[in-house]
Structure formats: structure tokens, C-alpha cells
């Protein structure tokens, strides 16, 4: 096997010449920077990288990456990317989406891409609002939210995106936030390394229509008390002095406790590779919104056959058995007769 050297690149190589047009102060800028700065480290080629998006503020992302890119239609990015990734297993395909795009109009495509385990890195920027259409509530907005379309408060019970992804049996599920570049990059790197569908929820501040939605947990002073870092193999604990932790009760449900009251050994050890998704799901239920201590990091990372690879294997197998397809034989595959 010959190894072709990947050229060294910098952030600049991965940035397109298009002017970035998000609102000043939007969390999308820091996510874009994190991705552009990470790409040179991933050992991949620009021409083999494709960003696919749907519609929404987040969906402008591909225009700013100096790679191949496809800005498609609302909610459909996972479907379009599925066709691309399965027919071109040589490519690195990223999907960039928002909460409305992924969980409302595109919910169906998202769950199916996840359950099939198509080799996609799906980044879902969750700002709990519709930004591009100027401020309606989204499927992740909290109940009772007052927006332009819900002047008396939203009646909808929100989705927990991590629960949805785990419910769809995604093989890689993580959460990060736009205030911590290092953590974002770590999650994106892991998502990229994972074979199959990777789902990363990124808490993203929309400073125009939903400013400060995550401040209570992602603000510098709040993180220690409000973010529960998940580290594989480690007991799950948080708090300024690591004084809080997570235990599993007798009935299986998870609970936040004072470490002092139960002892360190009682804490739940995080296992990303746990085959049964139940535990990861339970972790996702610890918090029902960004006002409570919220787990962050990789919830689940398990191996399952990748869809495109399996599809290719069926083609390869058929060709190994029957050759590469003879048109004349095909046309004669049902009974035929000859007239002289």
C-alpha cells in the first residue's frame, strides 16, 4: 500500500474567500473557528472533505469552508449526505444543522441516518430558537417560551436532542458548547474518528433572538457547578471541588448526589462503550434544560457496521460472484427466444 502524504495546512487553507455573514457576536463564529482550526490536525484533505447543510443560520456554514460544500434544503441534509457518503466512501462528509432543521422539519432524516449508522459527522447547533426566520420557538425551546409565534407562551414539550439521538440508537453521541473551543475540538475530533454516524449537539448562543440561553451553565463562572463532564472510565463527578457526583439508584435511574454523602466508590463510572444505550439515555435525562446541571462530553461511542461500507460490501460480493455485470446477459436473464 502506498501512503500519499497529506499536505500540511493551516486554518487559512480551510477558510473560503466568502465573507461570513452571521450576526456579530453569534456563537456560530466560534464554532466555525473551532472547525477551521481543527481541520489541519485531522490529517485529511480539503478535496476529500464535504460539508452538507440544510437551512437556517447554521446551514450557511459550508460557504465558509474551503472544501466541497452543499447548502441544501430545510431538514434534508442527512438524506442528501447519506446518498453522498454511501456512494463515495472515500469522502469525509460533515452535516451542519440547527435545532429546527434537525429536529423539526428534518427529524425523520436525522433519526434514520443515525439508526443506519451512515458515516456522517452531524453537528447540530442548538440555540433553542429559530434565528433565520427571526425568532419563533423551536423544538428545543423550553415550555412556556414567549416568542413571536407564541405570545402567550409555547405549549410544546421540547426535545432533548441527546435523548433523541440515543433513542435512534446512534453509535456516537456527544454534547459540547460554543464557549469552549478546546472541548468543541475534542468532540469534533472524536466524532470524526468514529466510524459511522456521529451526532454532536453544540449549545450555541443566538445573541439576537435567544441571548444567554445557555449562560447559566456554560458561562465561565457557572461551568464548574453546572456542567457535568463525562470522561470514559472515570466516576462522574462535578462541582467546584468535585463535591457532586452521579449515582445509579436501585431502580436504575440516575441521581445527582453529594459525594460526601455516598462515598466516591458509589459514583457511577462513565462507560461510553456500554453496548446497551439505556445508561447513556439515563445520563441524557439528568438535565431537561440548560438551567440544571448538564452532562457534557461523549455520552456514547459504540461500534456497529457502517452503512456505506455494508452497501459497498454487497456490491463487491455480487461482483466477486458474478463478475462486473454483462449487459447482454442481463437482457437475457428471463426466458428468451430467437427468431431466425
Amino acid at each position: 500500500m502506498t501512503t500519499v502524504e497529506i499536505p500540511l495546512t493551516t486554518r487559512k487553507d480551510w477558510s473560503s474567500d466568502q465573507e461570513v455573514k452571521w450576526c456579530p457576536g453569534c456563537g456560530d463564529y466560534s464554532i466555525l473557528a473551532a472547525v477551521q482550526m481543527l481541520m489541519p490536525d485531522l490529517g485529511v484533505r480539503r478535496e476529500k472533505t464535504v460539508f452538507v447543510s440544510g437551512i437556517g443560520c447554521a446551514a450557511r456554514f459550508p460557504y465558509y469552508m474551503n472544501t466541497y460544500g452543499l447548502h441544501s434544503i430545510h431538514g434534508r441534509a442527512p438524506a442528501i449526505a447519506t446518498g453522498l457518503a454511501t456512494s463515495r466512501p472515500d469522502l469525509d462528509v460533515w452535516v451542519v444543522s440547527g435545532d429546527g432543521d434537525s429536529l423539526s422539519i428534518g427529524g425523520n432524516h436525522l433519526i434514520h441516518a443515525l439508526r443506519r449508522n451512515v458515516n456522517l459527522n452531524i453537528l447540530m447547533f442548538n440555540n433553542q430558537i429559530y434565528g433565520l426566520t427571526k425568532g419563533q420557538y423551536s423544538p428545543t425551546s423550553e415550555e412556556g417560551k414567549i416568542t413571536k409565534s407564541t405570545p402567550f407562551g409555547s405549549l410544546d414539550h421540547p426535545f432533548n436532542p441527546i435523548s433523541v439521538a440515543i433513542g435512534a440508537e446512534a453509535t456516537f453521541v456527544a454534547r459540547t458548547h460554543d464557549m469552549d473551543r478546546h472541548h468543541m475540538q475534542e468532540m469534533f475530533r472524536r466524532a470524526h474518528a468514529h466510524k459511522g454516524a456521529s451526532f454532536v449537539e453544540v449549545y450555541q448562543n443566538c445573541n439576537v433572538f435567544n441571548d444567554g440561553a445557555f449562560e447559566g451553565i456554560t458561562g465561565k463562572d457557572n461551568r464548574a457547578e453546572m456542567l457535568i463532564p463525562l470522561t470514559h472510565g472515570e466516576p462522574i463527578r462535578f462541582g467546584t471541588n468535585g463535591d457532586k457526583g452521579v449515582i445509579q439508584g436501585a431502580d436504575g435511574h440516575l441521581e445527582i448526589v453529594e459525594v460526601a454523602s455516598v462515598g466516591e466508590d458509589a459514583l457511577l463510572r462513565h462507560d461510553e462503550h456500554h453496548d446497551d444505550p439505556g445508561l447513556a439515555f439515563a445520563l441524557s435525562r439528568l438535565s431537561s434544560g440548560p438551567s440544571m446541571p448538564t452532562p457534557i462530553g461523549v455520552f456514547r461511542d459504540v461500534a456497529r457496521p457502517e452503512y456505506g461500507e455494508s452497501m459497498t460490501a454487497q456490491v463487491d460480493e455480487a461482483q466477486a460472484k458474478r463478475g462486473t455485470g454483462d449487459l447482454d446477459q442481463l437482457l437475457r436473464s428471463n426466458s428468451f427466444w430467437t427468431v431466425d
Partner: protein, 619 residues
Amino acid sequence: MTRQTEQLDRVVIRFAGDSGDGMQLTGDRFTTASATFGNDLATFPDFPAEIRAPAGTLAGVSAFQVHISDHQISTPGDAPTVLVAMNPAGLKANMGVMARGTTLILNVDAFDERSLAKAGYAESPLTDGSLSHYTVYEIPMTSITQNVCKEAGVKPRDAERSKNFFALGLVSWLYTRPTDETLAWIHQKFGGKPQVEEANTRAFRAGYDFGETAELFDARYEVRAASFEPGTYVNVSGNTALAWGLIAAAKMASLPLFLGSYPITPASDILHELSKRKEFGVRTFQAEDEIAGIGSALGAAFGGSLGVTTTSGPGLALKGETLGLAVSLELPLVVVDIQRGGPSTGLPTKTEQSDLLQAMYGRHGEAPLPVIAAKSPSHCFEAAIEATRIAVKYRTPVILLSDGYLGNGTEPWKLPDTSTLGTIEPNFAVAPNHENADGTAVFWPYLRDPETLARPWAPPGVAGLEHRIGGLEKADGSGNVSYDNTNHEKMTHLRRDKIAGIANDIADVEVDDPSGQANLLVIGWGSTFGSISAGVQRTRAKGQQVAQVHLTHLNPFPKNLGEVLKAYEHVLVPEMNLGQLSRLLRSEYLVDAKSLSKMQGSPFRAAEIEAAIAEILGA
């Protein structure tokens, strides 16, 4: 007894029974035996939407009509000359199309009181004299089948399921069909279940022997082989031919074929056929919905595959938004619509041509795209290649229209010489195509070929051609997002002109007007070809003049079409819709195109075309 064998030039047989009676299989087998025997033929499978509608009811009747002849034919026949009815409902549902003097072969075992009541007979038609104008054969098919199967240890209930093979054997005898092939087929198909194989074989033989020994029939009939051009033939359905056409087209273009599709009647057979053919590098993807079907196909097209999605009317509606994106992205894509009765779920298993205007206009914005239509089952092969050729050459989604009648109907097809199919050039972009002011070479995804107006197709993988495209309006040339109002108008014109320009790249319509004296032109599109041709021929046989044109290209129309239309005093447009093509012709060419409409879920009869022509010609 000695019997004569009478020669017939053609016969139309209709097999009818319950949905669970295996009528489609029986008809299909009879057809294959006739095809290999050398007859020309056309078939019309006619079945309900329910897989097993309530047994014995009219709603549950499944029928298969086959027309075999010793000369070239183009339709499954206006009316059957023989009806094989496995139960009272099968008889009742079809009596409307049986002319006096025709033959009825009835499974009398099924004409018990309960079944008669279920079919809505107050009195048995066997005894009330209502069949006195027909030649009726009352044959206890179920009990004979059960008897011969009993010897093989098959329980009566299981044996009952083989009665369609009895009917097949009997009709095979009556029409002197060869039996070896059918017996071999039974062995191949049911070999895995020895008892079923045994029962079906016994039933088939019993039916054949019954004809020979029962002294019920005065004569056997023979329909001689038709004279065909030398060559290799297969009996092919439209859906199979279409699937094969897609495989051939992908091969001609050296592109991997990707089918993204969602199951829908009557298009699913294309998905089934293609999913069997992975050795051709075909990737089939059964998507979560119609939208993902076309979305995945478009994604694959972006990646350099021949992207295809197959559907029927309701699915096409769901694909509308993505079609708009495909028009904007200017990527090759083949969208196949096997039309059925609509709107909504409509008549899922019945044929119609009512998606023409949806194909033409069913999108948001100004979103023109080429539309082509297959005209016979075997023509679906060619039509698939033509759709691909246009899609790839012009970087555009193409809608290929077929319908339930073409999709399921079959006809003998002389196989093409595959070495002469030619090639389709994908002409992928390989290098930057534009120089910036500072001298750097860049790739402009919307810099068009001046002749075809096609843009470059640059699948990911080539360094230096990285580009971003999307559904937002793009600047002419660079393809960057542009909200500039005059640029939008220019791009709208360019997209229109690109599609209109395809008229320079398709053949003129051929006018079939042997005498050159006709003043009536009958023009059709799609699956009406057979019926219109037969109606036109009947008119000519009466000594009258009529011209015929049949369209494969519906957008753009062939260049000479306007001139052709204007040369005739009368223009008649038979369609299985409320006049969609006639509306297009009227608005495009300002001609008085008269619509002949039929919306009954079945193809035109030749007689209906003939009558409509006669009305105009005043004969």
C-alpha cells in the same frame, strides 16, 4: 374423438378470479409460453389495490388480460374472446366487456350459493339463462384438482390453491401451447417445496388432459407464430425494461448507478429489479421517505453517480422541493414517475396519465426541466437511456414518465445490439476554468458551456476544484451566493434557455401520414401509443385518411411540432387525463387541439379511438 385444430389470427384471453387465486401468475405463465412460441402479444394485468381484498367480492377480483396474435399488435385487445372465471365475482366483474358469442370457461365448483351471494348474484347465472348468448364451459376445476392431488397426499385445502394451474393447463391445451416450458418453470419455481411442486404439476397436467379427454370441446385452436424480424426476443414489462435501461445508461456513461427510492405502487418493481443487480455496481437505497429517496439520489449525483429516484404521483409531489434544488444545483438526476390514478391515493393499481402537468410545472419558482415519456413496455429501455443522456449532458433533473399500464404490461422485445448503444460523456471538470484578476486559477462552478449552457460537473475529490453550491441564487459564472436582482433574472433566463435549447438535440417528430392526404392528426404521448395506433389502423382499413404523431419528448417539444400541428385542420389528443397535453399544445402553438379523455383506470380501447376519429371525419 377426433378434433380439428382451428386456426385463429388472434385471441384475447382474460383470466379472472380472487386476488388470492394466482391469476397474475397464471396469465404471466400463459404469456411467456405464447411469447416463446412466437406470437406477438400485449398484456394488461388488472388487479385491486388490496393484497387480499375480501374473498369472493367484486372488489377482490384480480384479472390478467393477454392478447396473442399471428401478426403485429399494439394493444392487449379491446375485449376478451375468452374469459376464464375462477369464481362468480370474476364472471360478474367482467361480463360488461364480454361480447355475445364469446367463450366463458367457469370453475363451477365456486358457484355455490354463498359465493354467488358475495358476488351479488340473486340467482345463479348458470341457470337463469343470462349466459345463453355465450359459449359456456362449466368445469369443476377445484374438485378435479383436489382429486388428482389427493393421490399425492396433498390435503384438499392445500390442493385448492393449485386450481389456477388446472385452468392454465386447460387453456394451454385449448390453444395448443407447448407445455414443457411451463412444467420446467413449475419445477424451478416450486422445487424447494416438493409438495407444492407436485400439486401444481398434477393440476396443470389434469387441466391439459381434461381438455383432451372430456369431449367438451369440439376443437382446439391455434394462433400461429407471428413473423418477427430475426433476432433474440424477450417478453418484457415496462418496469423491468426501465430498470435495465438505467443500468445500460449508467454503463454507457461509465457512472455508478445510485437509486434512492421509497416503495410505492406501481413503481416498486424498478427498485426490486435494480436491487438484484449489484454486480453492475448498482447501489440501491430504500429511503425513509420519498423526500429522502430523491435527496439521497441528488447527494449521490453531487458525488458523481448517476442519481435516480423512482416513484408515482403522490411521491413526485413530495419530491417537488428537492426537484427545485436540483434545478438550482444543475446536477444530473433521473426522476421516474410510474403514474397511477389520482389525486391522492386515488387508484394505486390502475393506470392514468394525469401527472403530465405536475411533471411540467409542479414546482416552486421558475423551475423548468426536461420531461420525456415512454410509449410501450419495451420503449421504457430506450426512454431511460434518453433521460440519462439529457440529464448528464445538460446537468439537469429529468422527469421520465411511464404509468401502471406500461410498468406492469408486457410485450415481446427484440433485444438491441448492446455494442451499438454508444456512450454518454459525463465530462467531469478536471481543472480550474477561470482566472482571477490577480492571475490565480480558480474553479467557477457556474461557468457554462456556451453551446449547451450546461455547467461543469465537479464531484468532490479533485484538488483545486473545491466549491460550494446550494439552493440560494448564484452569481452567473462564479456560483457564489448572489441576491443581485438582475443576476437573478439572468439566471432564470439561463435556466430556461438551457432546457429550451435541448430541442436542438432531439429528433423532429415523425408524422405517420401514409397518403399525405389526411386532414386529421391524432397526437398522443406515453402509453396511449398502442391504442392510438390500433385505432388509426382501423380507420385506415376503412379507407379513410388519418395522421398520427406520438411524442416522447414533452419538454422541450421537438422543434418541428408547431409546424406539424398547423398543417392539419383537426388535431385530436387522446389522453388518460382531462386534457393535459391538449392544454399544453393549445397554449404553446395556439392550435385547436381537441381532447379525448378517459379516466377509467384502464387504457383506451382501439374502438374508442376509432369512434372519436370517425366523429371528426364524419364517417
